[in-house]
Amino acid sequence: MNNSSLHSQRNLNIGFILFLTLLITLLSQISIRLTLLMALGISFGFVLQKSRFCLVSALRDPILIGMTQLTRAFLLLLGISILGFALVFWGASQRNIPLSLNVFPLGVHTVVGGLLFGIGMVLAGGCSTGILVRIGEGFAMQFVAFFGLVIGSVLGERSLKNWRNVFGEWPGVFLPDILGWIPTLLLELSVLSVLWQLARWWQKKQLGEW
C-alpha cells in the first residue's frame, strides 16, 4: 500500500498544544473552576473521539445491525454514573454543600421530546455530543446538523410554555425520596444488569450463535 499520502501533522499538533496551553493559562487567571471545566470538556472530547464512543450507535445498532457492544459500554457508563452521583450527592449533603441533580419535571413533552430527539439523532448521524465531536473531526454534515440543532433548540425552549399549558407537567420524581437510597440503587443497577444481559443475548442471537 502506498503510504506517501500519510504525513505527520505533528507541527500543527505542537501549535495546537501551545494554543491550548495559552488558553488554559489565560483562563486560570480568571477562574480556576472554569479552567477545570474547560479541561474536563477537552478530556471528554478527547476520550469520546479516541474510543469512537457514540451514544446514537449504542441505541441504534441493536436495531439496524444487531450489534450491542456500544450499548453495553453505555450501560456500564450509566452504572458508574449512578453510583458516582449517589456518592457525591450524599457527600455534599453531609457537608451541607448545595448540589443539584438532573431531576427534571415530567410531561407529555418529555416523551415527545425524546421521540423527536431519537429520530433526529439517527438522521443527523450523532447526538448533541456526537455533533460537537464530529465538528472537531471535520465533518461538514455535522456542521449542518449543528445549525439545525441551534435553531431547533431556540424553537423548543420557546415552545415549552405552550406544552406545559396544554398538557400540564408533573414535578420530577427523585427515586431515593420514595424508595430510599439503597433500594433505589439496587433497583437501578439490577435493571441495568438485566439490560446488559439482554444486550449480550441479542447480539449473539443476531450473529446466529444463539
Binding site: Q49, K50, I80, S128
Partner: protein, 163 residues
C-alpha cells in the same frame, strides 16, 4: 509497548475503557460544577444571544460577558477542542465534506428535531438521558425509553430514505 503507545495515540480505545473514563469525568464535572454535565442548555443560550444580536429574536437579557462566565460554555468549547485535538494527535485531521445532498437534508432536519426535542425535555442524551438516570430520576428513565423508541422510528426512516 510500542503498539500500546500507537493505540493510545491513534486509537481506537476499547469501548469499555472509554465508558469507565467518561464515567469518572462525568462524576468530576458534577463535583466541580455542582450540577451534572449537559450540552444543549448552553447551546440554546448562546443561540438566544446570537439571535438577539442579529435582531431576529426578542432580547432575553443574555450578555456576552455573562455567557463567558457560564460553565456550560467551557464544557462545550472544551469538548470541541478536545475532539479536534484527538484527531490531530493521530494525524487524522481532514475536512470531510458532504457527498450526497440527501445527507445535507437529513442533517438539517435531524438537528432541528434534536434541538427542539432536547429543550422541551430539558436535556439531550447527556443531560436528560445519561444524567437524568444518573440522578436517580424517574424522568430520566422515561426519557430514555422515548429516545429509544425515537431511534427505532429514525432507523426506519434511514432505511427508507437514506440508503
Amino acid at each position: 509497548m510500542k503498539k500500546t503507545l500507537q493505540t493510545i495515540i491513534h486509537g481506537p480505545w476499547a469501548y469499555w475503557i472509554g465508558a469507565i473514563i467518561l464515567g469518572l469525568l462525568n462524576i468530576l464535572v458534577l463535583i466541580v460544577r455542582r450540577q451534572p454535565w449537559g450540552v444543549t442548555l448552553n447551546i440554546e443560550i448562546w443561540a438566544e444571544w446570537v439571535g438577539t444580536n442579529l435582531g431576529i429574536l426578542n432580547d432575553r437579557g443574555f450578555t456576552f460577558k455573562e455567557l463567558m462566565t457560564f460553565s456550560g460554555t467551557y464544557l462545550n468549547l472544551g469538548l470541541l477542542l478536545g475532539a479536534f485535538w484527538a484527531t490531530l494527535v493521530a494525524s487524522q485531521v481532514r475536512f470531510r465534506p458532504i457527498r450526497d445532498k440527501k445527507f445535507f437534508f437529513s442533517a438539517l432536519i435531524g438537528g432541528l428535531f434534536m434541538g427542539y426535542g432536547a429543550r422541551i425535555a430539558y436535556g439531550c442524551n447527556v443531560g436528560a438521558l445519561l444524567n437524568g438516570i444518573a440522578s436517580s430520576s424517574l424522568t430520566g428513565w422515561i426519557f430514555a425509553m422515548a429516545v429509544f423508541s425515537g431511534t427505532w422510528l429514525g432507523s426506519k426512516l434511514l432505511l427508507k430514505y437514506l440508503m
